[in-house]
Subunit: 219 residues, 2 copies
């Protein structure tokens, strides 16, 4: 796998708090792999749009999919320029001054255009997506038939022009505020799995359902 | 407060799975109030961009803020058209067929343009933001001074052209798949508070810190 750093472009170089910028592929991959969804920004003759959609990474591409009827997918399939963003909120940073309050987060931004994934690669991509969400499930669920696959559009975007931005750690208060009698620190948060809700009569419990409650901030 | 339904525009009318569209203000407000951050899509001469940023709602506006130096805020302050999106992922929907897998979510999309919030309204908005995150904290933390406020841009966008989209509940399998011996149901998830991490020596514990672990999917 390509482990070269990604040279920042004019669009991906982080300028605000530049030391939060990250241009390593391993960091970018980890942020994308923690995500179930991304936001896709694109423009058409009615303006600029921002649409959330499920995503998954394979090697140096991020994949999305949906119904052929989706306006966003139809436009993205033409190769129109898009910007894709993935963001994880990791905590609220409580400083001693109102001004220095912040948030801990990991975000990734990808510029480029999507390409259509078709034929055998399309079916393989959909299997990979299901495996990402629930390991082993693509062998359990009924596979997509010809009509279902034909009704689905799968797109992918390369990670060539991409960057990550991360804030972590405690508050950065002014020296003169450090003695103020106010609680300071981080209130961490994470996307966590809650009790599964079975639908109808069930057979044996797959491992990914039994362990669902263990999920912490990772997909 | 204005409780009239929002008539869908050409841009906000939900077309894909139209019965997931919601045009009630109370539902829109609840989705925005559950969010700590939004994604802002905008276009400039370098293309279309998508940037995550903290947000909070007051009445019929969504607010964002940041450093005066932020390119996104500088452009948004000119009144350029933007699209703002808030998304909550509530669960993975595991169907008996690969095709009918889905996700439960609540999302809100706002079209329009930001306006600058200045003067006394600016200081009040920043106080409101801190209160939203931690009730009582705006009276505890050192308030922003003249220089700190001057270095901060606060913007707001009206909720005039906005809509919500929601998926909830279990899988919608084909009748012919219902007897398949595969686990089906929902794997719910929520953003949850984890153990607070104090910074330095601490005084008394505020209520919002003591109760942080109780947070479940709500801001």
């Amino acid at each position: 796998m390509n482990q070269k750093p990604m040279p920042p472009s004019e669009r991906t170089r982080v300028r605000r708090v530049a030391d939060r910028g990250r241009y390593d592929r391993a960091i970018l991959h980890a942020i994308l792999d923690d995500a179930y969804l991304c936001h896709v920004a694109f423009a058409d003759d009615r303006g600029t749009h921002c649409i959330p959609t499920a995503c998954w990474r394979e090697a140096e591409h991020l994949y999305i999919h949906g119904s052929n009827g989706s306006r966003m997918l139809k436009l993205a399939a033409t190769g129109s320029q898009v910007c894709v963003c993935v963001t994880h909120l990791d905590g609220l940073v409580m400083a001693r001054s109102a001004f220095h309050h912040s948030m801990n987060y990991r975000s990734a931004v990808i510029y480029g255009s999507f390409e259509v994934v078709d034929g055998a690669a399309k079916a393989a991509a959909m299997d990979a997506f299901l495996e990402r969400i629930a390991p082993g499930r693509s062998a359990q669920a009924r596979p997509g038939d010809v009509n279902e696959l034909a009704a689905t559009t799968v797109l992918r975007i390369g990670l060539d022009e991409a960057a990550a931005k991360i804030r972590s750690g405690g508050p950065k208060d002014d020296e003169s505020d450090l003695a103020l009698p106010v609680w300071a620190g981080v209130l961490p948060m994470a996307l966590q799995g809650l009790q599964p809700v079975p639908d109808g009569v069930q057979g044996s419990l797959p491992e990914y359902v039994a362990r669902w409650g263990d999920l912490t901030a990772t997909a």
